[in-house]
Symmetry: C2
Subunit: 234 residues, 2 copies
DNA sequence: TGTTATTGTCTCAATATGTTACAATAATAC
DNA sequence: GTATTATTGTAACATATTGAGACAATAACA
């Protein structure tokens, strides 16, 4: 089961990226977390940058490896560079828990800066894949996260803050919903990201007034009530 | 005149920071640019990160070296990581123009990512200092910039975009104005950053309504008209 | 004392948002 | 069928915010 670690000749030292991948299941906002083999550590997906590769390309590559998806909303939001964020002791445990021997001066145990990105994906389209060191990758509710490794909690909180600030400006609902959705689903996305309840009538009027939605057929769910229209973004 | 280059043992390889330092002279928004010795290159101030130094600390150190100032509004806004942004040919010219020999595989000629920050300072308080490789450092009007080295124009444009987005949220006027200022000066700061004229009466009402300003004595400038009040931030 | 440019504030109009109300459904129960 | 229920779409009105113009109150100077 022993495998080769990435070589220092292939990757830039001291540099990594981390991904906060948001998904929406119709009710709740979730993120993807890796669980490392034989440890309790849960972590954001991440990776290294090849020496002859654009930063953005490296992150897109990692995102595709974890989700199988291309052409996803992806945005850099912050670079974490404090000294204390690097924890060679934890990295060593994770690698050794995979049955790999690592020398004390291996480059993966050095200090790292992490350039953090967040991605927005349609929950239903993705089949997440764990990376080489982890045993599983799973969705976790943003309001009920487990303990995260190192500074990954801080990274996640910052991602959510940026998401909130960008909510209106970047039409973020578009990327978290299926192609067609109801007004209520759109409102739920907004409510979860903003962390507050919104008024139904005001929200509807505002969204319809923006001239960004197309109305389609009604959705009959079997509920004993008026059926809502489906919408898509223009 | 020959001097020693920074050693690879002291600094993290492949990593630099750049600073977009904004100042306001009462009329125009300006940034600080270095001019390298014996070249036509103009560039943003920047530097490297020590191996045992927090990223933020490195940038604060650099900001203090250039401006002499501490406790300045400073914010990270983006990390530039494309392959083509690194130009070892240009770096080599700059270093050799300082009368220093540099070998072709020196670490300063490697690929670099740059973590960009912007700072807001009070124009009148600062006495800028050039760095070891440059002959001068000067203020340039943001609307009339010279040709900048490598991707520094792109970095500057992005800084201005972020400044614009953060204008209301972070009370940016506070950092660009002297302690006491007139409503007109505050409005001018807003107008330049937003790139549009604002309505005097609406602006005044909005600012006074925010409950962030303290009104002081009037300012008599000698103009043949009513004297404006001076304000400071609470 | 009149002239000029600018400032502080008021008013009214135009928009935008908060709030309530209510008719129009889809399914189900009878 | 007809009544019942939950939810949706939209109208209506109230309130708040912003746009636009008007105007009196200066400072300095001729």
């Amino acid at each position: 089961m022993a495998q080769a670690l990435p070589g220092i000749k292939e990757y830039l030292p001291h540099l990594a990226y981390d991904l906060v991948i948001f998904g929406f299941n119709g009710k709740q906002l979730k993120i993807l977390l890796l669980e490392y083999q034989n440890t309790d550590y849960k972590a954001l997906p991440g990776g290294f940058i090849r020496r002859e590769e654009d930063l953005d390309a490296a992150v897109k590559r990692g995102l595709k490896e974890r989700t199988g998806l291309d052409h996803i909303f992806l945005e850099q939001f912050y670079t974490f560079g404090s000294l204390k964020r690097s924890r060679p002791d934890i990295m060593k445990k994770i690698i050794e828990a995979n049955g790999i021997n690592i020398s004390g001066n291996h480059w993966m145990l050095d200090r790292f800066m992490s350039i953090a990105y967040y991605a927005l994906i349609n929950f239903d389209e993705v089949n997440p894949q764990p990376d080489a060191l982890s045993k599983s990758i799973n969705w976790y509710n943003i309001n009920d996260l487990p303990t995260l490794m190192m500074d990954h909690k801080e990274i996640t909180i910052k991602a959510l803050e940026v998401l909130k600030l960008n909510l209106d400006r970047k039409l973020i609902g578009m990327n978290l919903l299926p192609q067609k959705f109801t007004m209520k689903e759109l409102q739920t996305v907004y409510e979860i990201i903003l962390g507050e309840k919104l008024r139904r009538t005001t929200f509807q009027r505002k969204m319809l007034g923006k001239d960004i939605l197309v109305r389609h057929e009604k959705l009959f769910t079997g509920g004993a009530h008026k059926a809502p229209y489906l919408y898509s973004f223009k």
